[in-house]
Every structure is written in C-alpha cells, then in structure tokens.
Amino acid sequence: MRVAKERSGQDGADDDGALTGGDGGGEDGYVPSRRRIDREAYKRARSRRATAIAAVSTLVTGAVLYLIVVNAPGWPRTKETFFDGEYAREALPKVLEGLWLNVRLLLICGAAVLVLGMLIAIARTLRGPVFFPLRVLAAAYTDFFRGLPLIINLMIVVLGVPALRLQGVTVDPVVLGGTALTLTYSAYVAEVFRAGIESVHPSQRAAARSLGLTNRQALRFVVLPQAVRRQVPPLLNDLVSLQKDTGLVSIGGAVDAVRAADIIVGRSLNYTPYIVAGLVFVALTIPMTRFTDWVTARMDRRRAQGGAL
C-alpha cells in the first residue's frame, strides 16, 4: 500500500498520468497544518493504547490457559507421558532423520501434483467432440479422488498393489505412498486450477480470439497466466496440506518422521516423540505459510506498482 502511494505521488508531477494522489509533501513548499499535526498525534496515541491493550489481553489469556492446564487433575501424569525432556532428546534426531523423507516426498509429489493437476484442469476445459472422452475421464477422476478418503487410497495402493505380485512393479512403500498422495492431491489441485481458469472473465478470451489467437493460444498466453497467478494462495495452501499428509506414508512401513516417533513410542510407551514430530511438522509449515503470504503480497504490490516485469 505504502509503495503504491509513493509512486502515485511521483506520477502526479511528471505527466497527465493516472491517479494523482494529493497526499504528503513534495517540491511545492507544503507545510503540514496544525490540524494535521493534531490529528496525527491523536492517531499515534490511540494506536499506542491499542498495542498496550492487546499485550495485556494476551498475557491474561495465556496465564489463564496455563493455570487451567497445570491445575487439571491429570496434569502430572500427562506431563510425564507427553512432555518428557529425556524422550524428547532421544526422539529428535530420529524424527529429523525421518523428516528428510517427508521433505523429499513433498518436493517430488508437489511437482507431480502441479503438472498432473494442470493437465486434468486443461482436459476439463477442452472443447470439441474429439476431446469428449478426455473431458469425461478428467471429470470422473476428480470426482473419484476428491471423494475417496486419502487414508483408504493409501491403503489400497500401498498394500493392494504389492498383493497383485505384478512383475516389474515396485513394492517400495515410499514410491507407492507417494503415488497415492499424488493421485489424491492432483484431484484437489486440478479443481483449484479449473476454478482459476473459470474465474478469468470471458471477455479476456474474446479479446484474445478477436486478435486471431487460436483457442489453445488464448488459453496459454491469456487465460492460464491469469488463472495461475490468482490461484497461487490456494495452491500453496494445498502444498502445506500435502506436506503434512506425507506423514501418512508411514502406514506402509516407510520410516518418515511420524514412523520414527512411532517406533520409540512403541518401545517406551511414552508419547513425547509424537509431540516432537508434530512440532517439527509445524516448524516446517510456518516458513511455507510465510512464503505464501510473501508471494501474495509481492504479486499485489507488483500489479499496483506496474513496474517492469
């Protein structure tokens, strides 16, 4: 917002350009009036007061929650089984080692999901009788895999495929698990892309066609770039979700972060490793979420600024 304002201030000076903003000073010898100074002083005081209230309110809320938990009848026992420092130290290296598998799964499945999801979305928007079977297949695919619970999909693929004993087909639980994740997430992401494609106003396609672009060129140069840009936040959201769900490949026996915690829990009957694994996933998600926000903000700014690409 601030950047956009500065720019419009400059523009006003040099030409008949867009949006001349009358804010702030400049070369015209403007001196803020008494009225403005008072007004801004009042606003500053009010915002200081708001910050103070927020801080106090947060502290009180935190203290109340802490007291409720600590004074709960089962707290000493819970603390022992879920928050044991000894087990946490033991679990952390193993969990991190397992997490590397989750990260690799995320990267590979994420890329595969984006490609497959885009292909399905495009297949659903194709026109013409030749593409009828493709359209139907794509629609059936999204309907099926969006409805099928991921955990069941994983069990079918990870446990069912090896049971077929097909020659040359892998029984590696990581590969199979990754395949199942890709199948389900492609369906979600295809819908995100399709929503994006449909959100581009028909007049854009009309303009492209009137310039002589073919249907395919209009899709590639005009519709898809706008669709993808608009869908970046929901796409990253799905990737964050995929990141967590990579933990589910542990049902096939692959040793990821969750499974690494599981092994220790099974041996010790102390649940602290689960907490460790959970926190590690959260820690991995936060940068991703911040990245999402940053990308979105940057896109908005770039458009407002209108600078060179």
Binding site: A18, L211, R303, A308
Partner: protein
C-alpha cells in the same frame, strides 16, 4: 468506391434463446469508409459487430469478408479474425501483460513477426497515439482513455483489413472521450475501413460515410450522415434523434 465491399452481410438473423437480436440485417461496407451503427441500447449494434468477427454464430443469412463467405462452416475462423481488428467497450486489455506485451502478442504469436520488429511497430504506433512513455506500464496504471488507445494500438498492430469499434467511448469519462475519438478520426483519414457502434451522435455525423439506425434488431433506416441526421424518413428514427437532442447529446 465501386470496389467489392470489405464487409457484406445478407439477411443475417441472430437469436439468443427466444429473443431475436438481429432480423434480416443487410449491410455493405465499402473499402476506406466508416459505417456508424446507431440506436438505443439493446438494439443489436454490439451483436452485429460480434457476429461480423465470428465471436457469435449467426442463425441464418451470410457474411462475406472481401468476397470470402466467413459464415461458411468450412471457413477458417482464426484466419478470418486475423484480418479483423476489434476494440471493445471495456478495453479488454490483458492485465497480466505490459502495454508492449499486450500489443506484440498477436503479431508475434499469430503472425510470426519477430520480437524486435513487433516491438518496433508497437512503439511507433504508441508514439503516434501519444502513449510513447507507457510501453512498460501495466494496463491498470493507465487512465481509461489511455487504456482504450492502447486497445486501439493492439488492434492496429496486426494491420487489419477492417476495424470494428464497439462503443469504445461508452465507458470513458466525458473529458477522455475526445482523445479517443481523435484517434478514430485520424484512422479514417489514413483510409482505414471501420464499422463502429456508438452513442456519440455528433461524432457519428462528422466521421461516418454511412449511418445505420438499428431498432429492435432491424436496420430501420440507412443513409449518409446528412440524410439520416438531417432528414430522417422513419418516425422511429426521428423519435430516437429527438430524444438524443433533448438529452443534449447532439
């Protein structure tokens, strides 16, 4: 002006569901002439232009572009559109592309012009339309009048045979209308063949060689600007023009 017409329509009929939007429309546009379509909102002006560019399928009748029947289902629609430039009421610039990218998209991707050549021509046209400094801007940084002039440049960049202008000043603030109409006047002087749907009666009278008054999808009256504005024969035309004069638009 006895050449074959650039655009010819014969008995064109177009319906949207139950509504008949165009009924038995005949039209001939000679080379290097300007045809203005006037009439109330909903009289079929925009639909007529969209049909001419094959953005809408017609129900009956036929349309020729330079003696080629473009409504023949075997005609190559993309090839037809390549020869026709369109400027829309809402500009329809591509918001994710800079002005320069908007303009060079079709020359590069459709006509196979090299990037350097396309950009050179784009800059030349921008300069001529007073937009020299705007090549790197995104459309939403421009005023309405500037956006519409960019849209005109985009349509001209492929050297179209025919230019269709669909109420191109209707979305503009009054003080920006002039800059766009000046551009159209200059194009006429250069010999561009144009069909324009417009509510700017004064402008239609100045610039048009032929004026068609549409009423409920029918070309009710047509003639030179002097004939149609000076001595309208149909009662409905007279009533329409009287309302325009009362609204202070002529």
């Amino acid at each position: 002006m006895s050449d074959t017409p650039v655009l010819r329509m014969e008995s064109v009929r177009k319906t949207f569901g139950e509504t008949v939007v165009l009924r038995d429309v005949d039209l001939e546009v000679a080379p290097h002439t300007v045809t203005a379509l006037i009439g109330a909102s909903g009289s079929g002006k925009s639909t007529l232009l969209r049909c001419a560019n094959l953005l809408e399928d017609i129900d009956d009748g036929a349309i020729w572009l330079d003696d080629e029947e473009i409504t023949d289902p075997r005609a190559d629609q993309d090839a037809v559109r390549r020869r026709i430039g369109v400027v829309f009421q809402a500009y329809n610039l591509f918001p994710h592309m800079t002005v320069l990218e908007n303009i060079t998209l079709a020359p590069r991707r459709v006509h196979g012009v090299s990037r350097t050549e396309a950009e050179e021509r784009a800059r030349e046209l921008l300069e001529r339309l007073g937009l020299a400094g705007k090549a790197g801007e995104y459309p939403d940084r421009l005023s309405g009048g500037q956006q519409q002039r960019v849209a005109i440049v985009r349509a001209l960049a492929v050297r179209p045979r025919l230019l269709l202008l669909d109420e191109i000043t209707a979305a503009l603030d009054p003080e920006l209308v002039g800059e766009v109409l000046t551009v159209v006047r200059d194009l006429k002087d250069e010999g561009m063949t144009m069909v324009l749907a417009t509510h700017e009666m004064g402008f239609a009278r100045d610039v048009a060689d032929q004026v068609c008054f549409l009423d409920s999808g029918v070309v009710l009256e047509r003639g030179t600007a002097e004939e149609l504005f000076g001595d309208p024969r149909q009662e409905r035309t007279r009533r329409f023009l009287r309302r325009i004069v009362e609204a202070g638009r002529l």
